[in-house]
Symmetry: C2
Subunit: 676 residues, 2 copies
């Protein structure tokens, strides 16, 4: 190992150790063990620290996100916008160096990691998007996209099912632009991995269709790491490199789980610095020659970006149409007038399931918005997510599609799909990607959905069969708590459209979104096209569908229960009651409207009853009384179930009358008026 | 194949086809393909249809639960309490034959399946429990437990990450009492599995440490299936049998996904019946010789149970102490006076983290309740789930523990752990089993948690680090929506104890539970022991902690915010306001109290403000105003975070005052008083 390599690696290690020590909190073990690999791998990568969003940069994903002190040190040394001062604020409130890396907060962090298994799965999405992007735009004479995605992952990531799902799919798709390094240090929080994790990982990845490489001495053998990368680039499969390392390398407690998640002791840091020729009295020390060295690497990379910029200009002039599209996408803009492709409906149009309306919308919108790609977790024919003209995204050698295909066969892998979707969104190029499954099984992907919301990934779940209305499949498939779960998640739009216009409003919100993921809950069963709905009205998240002067009651509902509320309102009218109806397809969007508008929809002085055929949990934010289904469903014909649970015009009207009676003579405050 | 075998298999097939046709809904393909295997496997199994809860029965798990018409046909033919009339009611409301098999509803159904990947993972739990049970009670001269667990699973199950997690652990644990049959029919809903699932499953399972066997002709070769079972019983690993079958065998559309999820057409059923020598004009026909045949098998099995009963009696007299314990457990009773092991505390006791109080409780209770076993998803030292005296549950050959060990090293496999926990509970013998992880990562297991609640499995999640109070790990690890998600799930107790007495109340509820799973959310940070708390009071789910005559406001809180509310109450007193404090550790338990009691806690006439440092979603069921954290958290010291988000006595008091002012002069109805 040359002196500068050694010095650079020591600097990375000691920056990470100092950051953890200063915070008195964090994980020194993995940074110490992985510093040589990080040094060796980043040398092979192309990226520009001054433009972290260059579309053809190589991506680096730290799937073992707890090792982020390593990542922050690398970002600082290479000249990303992360100062020594930032490193000193490691894990402190409002710093740029939180306890796990957050993509939307820190330049150079590609995806948010920490929850194990997510990073490697995001990386599959990053690699998938690169293939799709390259196949769409590359020309024989001009290469727009040829970047690689590199991943570090630990034993924890390999044990998580989400990683298994994504890795199996990556093997199937032959994503040879994906190179993962498994930090095989034999230690996890519970001690030696032999207490729970004795499978043959290499054999498993070979079974998935990955290429595998062993680097026996990951602590020193930088050449072997470089050779592994070269080899990985030469095969037609994703590659897993088994990198044998010693956790906490150089620490007095190296090789034990004692170095995993707690700061090193002062005397340990002292001996570590002395061993590396550093002055133990100094902290956060970076030798100038290390800065110089990384700057020179960064400068070479900046040249690469310049060359790429030049070929992009060439591309634009030689292929003006695709060039313009490319430029538009890189600017994060949608095609002009794309919204005119959104279908609209009138009450004269026939009743349809909202999943069917979703399919009809996709068949109009997908042809005009090339950055939309999507798929389903093996429920294509039920989710109706594949429009007639779509080509499957597949390795062309399979004869089943090609890499420019826009339809992804995810297999029965909801969590993997969710994490891959995040990776596709993180790739950039304005990708708007969706994934289909039953609403109930979005919960399988809860870990990934939460990270979509936290890290601002505008992905879309096409979540069909959204209630007991799915019928015979029964309670194992009927969502009850699902909407409450996702509505309680910050920065997550949860749409439950009631008809065709509301389906268009939901997709408009999803496709225009830059930072908010969407779940669109859709029915299996037919719903009528409503009088009074429109894309614009629904676009506010909630609106008055049936307006009454001085109503006796307002019924607020979503999705399939909105038409039920309208019917109940008619029934109530015949009984002498005036019942307004409000459709509330998305709480989050409604919450963002001005309070004046919101109070015009749900005003003071009127009792409000909500109707939704699942858990009523949370509806008291918008209503005084709630009619919901606070038990599991049942297997039976959808009509029978709705009747059994009294979700009928009569059942709703009865509860509306009880609500009127309950509040008779009492002053009524809108639930939207709050004390603070 | 002998005539009776052929006739029996034809009968199974046609019962399943008739059931699906009658319902005009369901999945005929897998039952047609798997009927021979079901016939061959059940012949090798020991069980008594007249006593489906015999503890030493072999278990059968249909992981591909959509094939339940097959299971229902088998249960009927063997003489379980499931009539032909029940089969005719397939998938109808309130029938005993729902669209997916539900364990708590149908005798002979071991676990609830349908959501893919769960069944095989439950089966790992069933096998694990058997090993633990056998190692605990078997003697050299008397075998109490030696049953096997058989599983059918499809491609869908194999693609799910939860199955990967559980299977990897089963291999590690060398559960050689587990025999799984993979229905390799090459078809899933999206068509040929080659669109998404081309990994080498056999190689993957070998990598997990499983034994594998190939049965090339699963449609006919009953002998090969019997031989496979014999071989599986002879090895020291779990076994996966690859059973090559034709989906929808015998249908005109056999081998296509057309037979997967839709009834066969009338002419197809006609030719199928004719081909099998059945009268096409008859439906639900069972030849008497088929009943006789299965009855004779069942009778042989009943003999086995009789013999077992005899040896149990022998056991009781020879080993009176363990025999009594065994009898008690089989009766589903806890040890007498076990509750006296529950710790109690007074305000003089020192502040402790509730996770620490949980550990102290476990160390008292585990020695006196032998049916408690538990583990952690690689967070043992953080969850504090392993008490000093516990032995690891491991194959003795590892030298790391033995099969009578009561501590399970789950690895970083939350979803697998959740599904395995359900399997352990389903085994019976009064097992009370818990699993630890951070509260935020219980969400990874949402699919399994939902099934615990739906199928009445009384498992317990020890869910530590339950808020921003975990500090530096930051928003990727800090729950916000998690409690709302699980509180909205029916039949799920979600405890968030505020001190030691409430921790005891939470565990008392969990350990006494027979049908309700529990999540116990515990802090990382210290909390004081409260004046006024007790096991009895907290056992009601909610109670008045600080009582005031004619209070100006009631502050209702949970967990770490209860002591905050008490401090705020003191502060308010100094400002001239009377603020009562209510602790509400579990919504579900509180909801089950008589309305009189509930209204004594949260009465009419007093404004109520809730305080909980996460999403306030759902709290309006118990309060008029909510102080919550409706955004993601942040990385920083816990104290800094609490201050930043204003969860301080001052911040709470300020909101309480605003609540008082908001309702001044207005009549106030308790949120517990409902219109319907």
């Amino acid at each position: 190992m040359s002196d500068i390599n050694q010095l650079a690696i020591a600097t990375i290690r000691l920056l990470a150790v100092d950051a953890v020590a200063q915070a008195n909190s964090g994980h020194p073990g993995a940074p110490l063990g992985l510093a040589p690999a990080a040094h060796a791998v980043w040398k092979e990568m192309k990226f520009n620290p001054k433009n972290p969003s260059w579309i053809n940069r190589d991506r680096f994903v730290l799937s073992n996100g707890h090792a982020c002190a390593l990542l922050y040190a690398m970002l600082h040394l290479y000249g990303f916008d992360l100062s020594l001062e930032d490193l000193k604020q490691f894990r402190q409130l409002n710093s740029k160096t939180p306890g796990h890396p957050e993509a939307h907060e820190i330049p150079g962090v590609e995806v948010t990691t920490g929850p194990l298994g997510q990073g490697i799965s995001n990386a599959v999405g990053l690699a998938l998007a690169q293939k799709q992007f390259a196949a769409t735009y590359n020309k024989d004479d001009i290469t727009v996209s040829d970047n690689y995605t590199y991943v570090f992952l630990g034993d924890g990531c390999l044990q998580e099912g989400v990683a298994s799902e994504a890795s199996s799919l990556a093997g199937h798709l032959q994503l040879n632009n994906l190179i993962a390094f498994w930090d095989d240090n034999k230690i996890s929080i519970d001690g030696n991995t032999n207490v729970a994790f004795t499978e043959d990982v290499i054999e498993r990845y070979q079974a998935y269709g990955w290429h595998t490489i062993e680097v026996a001495d990951g602590d020193h053998d930088l050449d072997a790491i470089s050779r592994a990368i070269k080899e990985a680039k030469s095969v037609n499969k994703p590659t897993l490199v088994r990198l044998t390392t010693i956790i906490g390398y150089g620490s007095l407690a190296q090789g034990t789980h004692g170095v995993h998640g707690a700061p090193l002791k002062a005397d340990d840091i002292k001996q570590l610095k002395e061993k590396n020729g550093f002055d133990p009295s100094k902290t956060f020390h970076v030798p100038q020659e290390v800065y110089d060295y990384y700057n020179s690497l960064a400068a070479k990379n900046q040249e690469l970006e310049k060359e790429w910029n030049a070929s992009l200009e060439q591309y634009k002039s030689k292929y003006p149409e695709q060039g313009a599209e490319l430029a538009r996408r890189l600017n994060g803009e949608l095609p002009k007038d794309w919204e005119s492709a959104l279908p609209t409906y009138t009450p004269a149009d026939k009743p349809l399931a909202t999943r069917k309306l979703s399919e009809m919308l996709l068949s109009k919108v997908i042809p005009v918005v090339p950055e939309i790609i999507g798929g389903s977790a093996d429920l294509t024919g039920s989710n109706l997510t594949r429009t007639t003209d779509m080509v499957d995204f597949q390795n062309p050698s399979t004869g089943l599609g090609d890499y420019s295909g826009r339809y992804i066969r995810y297999g029965v892998r909801e969590h993997g799909m969710g994490a891959i979707m995040n990776g596709i969104a993180a790739f950039g190029a304005n990708y708007k990607n969706y994934g289909g499954t039953f609403l109930n099984f979005v919960s399988y992907a809860a870990g990934a959905v939460r990270l979509s919301a936290l890290s601002h990934m505008p992905v879309t779940w096409v979540a069909t069969h959204d209630s007991i209305g799915l019928g015979e499949d029964g309670p194992t498939h009927q969502p009850i708590e699902t909407l409450a779960h996702f509505r309680a998640t910050p920065n997550l739009s949860v749409w439950r459209p009631a008809d065709g216009n509301e389906v268009s409003a939901a997709y408009k919100s999803a496709i225009e979104s830059k930072t908010t993921p969407h779940i669109i809950a859709l029915t299996r069963q037919n719903l009528p096209q409503l009088e009074g709905s429109s894309i614009e009205a629904a676009g506010k998240g909630g609106y008055t569908l049936v307006s009454k002067d001085s109503p006796d009651v307002i019924i607020v509902a979503s999705g399939s229960e909105v038409s039920l509320a309208v019917d109940a309102s008619k029934k109530l009218e015949s009984e002498g009651f005036k019942a307004g109806v409000v459709s509330l397809p998305d709480f989050l969007t409604f919450d963002q409207q001005p309070q004046d508008y919101r109070l015009s929809v749900l005003p003071d002085g009127v009792p409000i009853v909500s109707v939704e055929v699942m858990s009523s949990f949370g509806w008291s934010n918008y209503s005084h009384q709630q009619f919901g289904l606070n038990r599991f469903g049942a297997s039976g014909k959808a009509e029978d179930l709705y009747k059994f649970f009294e979700f009928t015009p009569e059942g709703v009207a009865e509860r509306a009358v009880k609500t009127i009676q309950f509040y008779k003579g009492k002053p009524i405050t809108s639930p939207l008026n709050r004390a603070f």
